[in-house]
């Protein structure tokens, strides 16, 4: 009986001390973590639709959407949405034009895809710099190369953009000239990651339309 009480008391004390310590650390860390997430989100919005002020329009069912406004003028939309990738969740930021008809960019914020293959769904530093240096953000000549998978969401030459009707599908082995506005060229040897990002974009635009319609339309 004595040893049982000793065991119980030990576990209770260890558990209480652990809970107390974690509570203190969480009080310190939680605001910093929230601030980091906010900074990352704001930087992604500013990159995808520059020059405006984001106004949150929808925050429901795991989807958050901002309309980026310059005064009264809409510059575009940014959606934060996540889906399942090859190994774990992929969190993305998706840019649409002001009428929500075209996709104007996709940034993967968080993923656990295969290094060297699936990780090509992310925008690299060099790609970001190239996009920032381009007025049209349309690096069409670069589309069709596996490492440049994310660039096709920004435009694939001649002012063409991918459709935001939720009908994007992944294709393989096509040249840039053969690609249509609802076709996304897959990353070689990372089809699952390519399909995952494309499905997230499709699901996000369809869900945004539904949520906005439920609010009375925008």
């Amino acid at each position: 009986m004595k040893i049982t009480l000793h065991m119980l008391a030990t576990l209770i004390v260890v558990g209480m001390l652990s809970g107390g310590a974690l509570s203190l650390v969480n009080d310190h860390a939680a605001p910093l973590i929230a601030e980091n997430e906010r900074k990352e989100r704001d930087a992604a919005i500013a990159f995808l639709v520059p020059g405006g002020t984001p106004t949150e329009m929808v925050n429901a069912e795991g989807l958050t959407a901002w309309e980026v406004l310059n005064g009264e003028t809409s510059l575009g939309w940014v959606i934060q949405y996540a889906g399942i990738g090859f190994q774990a969740e992929i969190k993305t930021m998706i840019a649409l034009d002001s009428e929500r008809k075209d996709v104007r960019g996709v940034m993967v914020i968080t993923d656990s895809e295969t290094p060297g293959l699936g990780t090509w769904i992310r925008l690299s530093g060099e790609q970001k710099e190239a996009l920032l240096a381009s007025d049209s953000r349309d690096l069409g000549d670069e589309v069709g190369i596996a490492q440049n998978f994310p660039l096709q969401f920004f435009g694939f030459g001649g002012g063409q953009h991918l459709s935001a009707a939720g009908d994007l599908k992944v294709v393989k082995g096509k040249t840039r000239a053969q690609l249509g506005t609802s076709e996304v060229q897959a990353i070689t040897a990372a089809t699952i990651s390519s399909v995952a990002v494309t499905d997230i974009v499709n699901a996000a635009v369809i869900k945004l339309d539904r949520l906005l319609a439920g609010q009375g339309g925008v």
Binding site: L11, L17, S18, I33, P115, G116, L117
Partner: protein, 219 residues
């Protein structure tokens, strides 16, 4: 008669070579293979693991006499999990890029058998000072191994070292090195090298003892 204690210097150094957790004991191989796609990831995981190891060893050696044997493993796990959660939260708050890069492997330090193994084998039987020395030595051995493994993979798989390009553009990166297969290959070569060195040292020691024995007989 009191048991003779190992010198404190030997206690520290054993983690670096003789009982290196990865290269000799093959402990903690999950993070070793999974996160070492770059040297910086190796340093980050090593430092996080060392922090948990040192803190858990200190606390457990302090309260070792108060914890009943029957619930010692449960208590050790709660202590380890607490420190791992502290590392996870602080990393997310202060080093978000590193935290993202290491992903789920920070919370998984809880089940790293190196940490539980050192608590059970050492910290629960030794005083706080010796436990800290043991933990720092083991942590340093773990960190160095992960850093070397990550550096080799990053160099051959990405041409860079700690993010800086080292090999020229003419060198075509070996993508396999940053894939899981590259981790197994690199670790295999490292284990082979360590075993070869250990074997040669043992042979040299045997030869020295034989020579000394012959000298004594002749005398």
């Amino acid at each position: 008669m009191a048991k003779k204690q190992t010198p404190i210097g030997t206690e520290f150094m054993k983690g670096l070579w003789d009982q290196n957790p990865v290269l000799k004991a093959l402990l903690g191989l999950c993070p070793t293979l999974a996160v070492t796609t770059s040297a910086m990831n190796g340093v980050g995981m090593g430092v996080a693991t060392t922090f948990v190891l040192v803190c858990a060893s200190l606390l457990i050696s302090l309260v070792r006499k108060a914890i009943p044997t029957q619930v010692r493993i449960a208590s050790f796990i709660v202590v380890i999990a607490t420190f791992v959660t502290i590392v996870d939260l602080e990393m997310k708050a202060l080093f978000p890029a590193m935290s993202k890069s290491l992903g789920a492997f920070i919370p998984l330090i809880v089940v790293n058998c190196l940490i539980l193994g050192r608590q059970e084998a050492f910290a629960s039987k030794n005083n706080p000072f010796r436990s800290i020395v043991d933990a720092v030595g083991m942590g340093l051995g773990f960190t160095l191994t992960l850093t070397v493994l990550g550096a080799v993979r990053e160099l051959l798989g990405n041409r860079t070292m700690f993010g800086f390009q080292v090999l020229p553009d003419a060198f075509e990166p070996w993508i396999v090195m940053i894939l899981p297969a590259g981790a197994f290959l690199t670790l295999g070569f490292m284990l082979g090298a360590v075993n070869t060195i250990t074997h040669r040292r043992e042979q040299a020691a045997i030869a020295t003892r034989r020579a000394a024995s012959l000298t004594v007989k002749e005398a």
